[in-house]
Symmetry: C2
Subunit: 468 residues, 2 copies
């Protein structure tokens, strides 16, 4: 037996002693933890630890650290850039049993949860509290995973992303020590901002085990609106003018004509097959009426048609149904296909350009099936491609489209990922986006905090080029 294999064997013995049957090496369990929801090739970990507490995570990592074995945190496996793939083998720490909601402080509008709590679990728990947590990526992800990937969703234009909604967290370091990054105060000028250092670090600097989250008061009233445009420009300009007007818009989602057509096919509806905007306003009864009416005028000025709004819950739900069914409707167009989701974010002034150039590129390149949807208040959009899993040429083509899309976004002052993270898929763009010096600094931090490179190795940071 070679050296690494021996180390792994000893580590597994020690982990077995610590966790008993909560350590699994079964193929089924390892397979389940070998992939996320993306196109990235699966690779199983050597074992999966179902941990119950921060202390167990600490002891697990301490064992792995001693034996130099990679450690990958796993929440719900709903990532989109291969962040939880056991790229270099090692031990997967599954946090799904760490699902306790530890504290809700209604007066302070915050709560403390274990990392494995999912967003829908928290949502249900808060149901009658008058409070809610606004970050809503498509999947029912774990809050630990959402923090680790700096997730967002449809409410970010008003409520921010995970970046703005984690007050403090607890993370286990590469040596097993447990760091608490903050407290429940709304603001602080004390010390280095360790909280934000872990948010978006994708398990490469530490493993998040607990989070204190900002909650928000449920609005007294909500109004929703839907409107159609002949082109993307009118829709994007509506978002820009709405925000500049000071309307505290809660959601502004764009779907393209292909996506609306897919929805009509899927749901038997007959929406206009044009660029559609779905909007939502939060506030008092008077204010959500006022907001909707002002935005209605903006839409009309900018060429929008069939603007409708309502504050009645049932009508709102019906109005947004189309948006919510978008993903399933897209997949139903080609049930045998795999989806490949792209993700860029640009300053909103460049959004229409970025979308237009991307669309032209997509149309020029191939007759691949694609849908556009965007959280356009933030300048964030996704082209979702449907690919034949047995056609490597299609993969290659879509990868190239995605690569050009990223280069375009970065050229326009944007980022290679608005909300999906770097994982395996976007590593090669980090230097283009931030420059050599910033990537060098990221490496300095990584080396200092994880000197033996055991925490999710091979993720986020680009591969170092061999020195001559």
């Amino acid at each position: 037996m070679n050296e690494p294999a021996k180390s792994l064997e000893i580590a597994l013995d020690e982990l077995n002693e610590l966790l008993g049957d909560r350590l699994s090496i079964s193929d089924a369990v390892r397979d389940h933890h070998s992939h996320d929801e993306s196109w990235h090739p699966a690779r199983p970990p050597d074992a999966v630890c179902f941990v119950n507490s921060a202390e167990e995570v600490s002891r697990t990592i301490a064992i792995c650290s001693r034996h130099r074995i990679p450690v990958i945190a796993f929440g719900t496996g709903t990532g989109l850039e291969g962040g939880t793939v056991a790229h270099k083998g090692g031990i997967c720490i599954d946090t799904s049993k760490m699902n306790a909601i530890l504290q809700v402080n209604a007066e302070d509008m915050d709560c403390t949860v274990q990392a494995g709590v999912t967003r829908k679990q928290l949502d249900n728990y808060l149901h009658d509290s008058g409070l809610f947590f606004p970050i809503d990526p498509g999947a029912d992800a774990s809050l630990g995973g959402m923090a680790a990937t700096r997730a967002s969703g449809t409410n970010a234009v008003r409520y921010g992303t995970m970046r703005e909604n984690v007050l403090s967290l607890k993370a286990v370091m590469a040596d097993g020590s447990i760091v608490t990054t903050g407290h429940r105060a709304r603001k602080s000028a004390a010390g280095y901002d360790l909280t934000h250092l872990f948010i978006g670090s994708e398990g490469t600097l530490g493993i998040i085990v607990e989070l204190t989250l900002r909650l928000h008061g449920k609005p007294e009233a909500i109004s929703s609106a839907r409107v159609y445009f002949d082109d993307v420009d009118g829709a994007v300009n509506t978002a820009i003018q709405t925000i500049q007007f000071g309307i505290p818009i809660a959601r502004v989602e764009l779907l393209d004509a292909a996506q609306m057509k897919a929805i009509n096919q899927y749901s038997g509806t007959s929406y206009p097959e044009k660029v559609a905007l779905f909007l939502e306003f939060h506030g008092s009864h008077a204010s959500v009426k006022e907001q909707a009416e002002i935005v209605g005028e903006i839409c009309t000025d900018l060429g929008g048609s069939d603007f409708e709004w309502t504050a009645y819950e049932e009508e709102r739900r019906e109005m947004w149904d189309a948006r919510h069914s978008a993903a399933y409707a897209a997949m139903a167009v080609k049930p045998s296909a795999k989806t490949y989701a792209t993700d860029v974010c640009v300053p909103i002034s460049r959004l229409a350009d970025c979308i237009r150039e991307t669309r032209d590129d997509v149309e020029r390149s191939a007759d691949i099936t694609s849908f556009l949807l965007g959280h356009i208040g933030d300048g964030n959009f996704h082209y979702v491609f449907l690919i034949d899993p047995d056609d490597p040429a299609e993969y290659e083509l879509v990868q190239q489209l995605s690569e050009r899309m990223v280069q375009r976004a970065i050229r326009m002052g944007g980022t290679c990922t608005g909300e999906h993270g770097i994982g395996l898929g976007k590593r090669k763009f980090l230097q283009l986006e931030f420059g050599e010096e910033a990537v060098a600094l990221m490496r300095t931090i990584k080396s200092a905090m994880d000197p033996h490179d055991i925490l999710n190795p091979g993720k986020l940071l680009p591969a170092e080029q061999a020195r001559p």
Copy 2:
């Protein structure tokens, strides 16, 4: 000449070659850069560099790095915790000539400025743009300094602090390299959050030379209100209920009876000498009326008296005059005294307790002159003490009061500083607030990024205890 003195001499020669007469070793200039606005003892740097550009900062630091000479960044010298005192000698980098506003992007509501631009300079520049930058510490501080200390002010309850309003920045590292931390996209899931690592790092990890800031649309309308309470509880509960009700309150400032009395003496006014709340609401005309009226009802329910509100600019200005004159009115009570400003922040549910216990402690301890003011929407408050500069016993007493205030705040889940920073004054509380592991991690980051400890040495991190 000893080794350090020789190194300094060579470095000064090199700096002289780089900067010519923008390198100063005059006593007057060094004295001006020896202190901030706090009680911390002055200590001048060995020389002051008036730099013009990021490149000059880079070359200045590269020289200091080679000769292991401390480097202290200096904006306007308006800090309150001794952050810019040249504690260990060295070279002061004065950024005041780096005061160009490089770019304002109205559609994206952001701007890029050099670090020496002050907040009022930016405010004037934006005057007719329909946009504003909301962070307003008392002083007309530089934006670089505000980012370095994670500053806030009266608008933070609605608009956040520097933490929430810097999109990206450029900083010079200990080796002279220049790092750009981000871009103009509103959100990003790419890479480690270097932006937040520098915000609040007080010049100990790098020197901020450029900032890209979020701007906000000027509200269509503003309304202001003032109300009085017999005790702090009613005022604090008003803030809690207002926020929980979902009112997007822009400002909620508390002044105690002593402060109101000082204002009456100073301005010849006859306000009730009770706990006063000053409030401000931003939004549409209809919404600011609605907000003020709802909060008026909350105030009445909670024992507030003489609630008044107005949306007329002149009346608003008059109403807030008292709040704006608070600092001068306090100082006028004892013109020969020095002010000693404390600064803690707690979860708002504990704010009334924290203020009450602190007030009892102050009243028990001495007949020292003190005033309370708080940005209570955030749970942040200051006791400002007037001290006889020739009476060391008064200093000692106030230091002890401040120390107990910090311990109380941390015990209640809060922080030793809401907005003034750590500097020299709060170093000893860092471990109490964050724990040993977090402080160890902060040290790891500092050592990795500044291995020779030349960047603002002796600030922020506590002194390391000698090992046995």
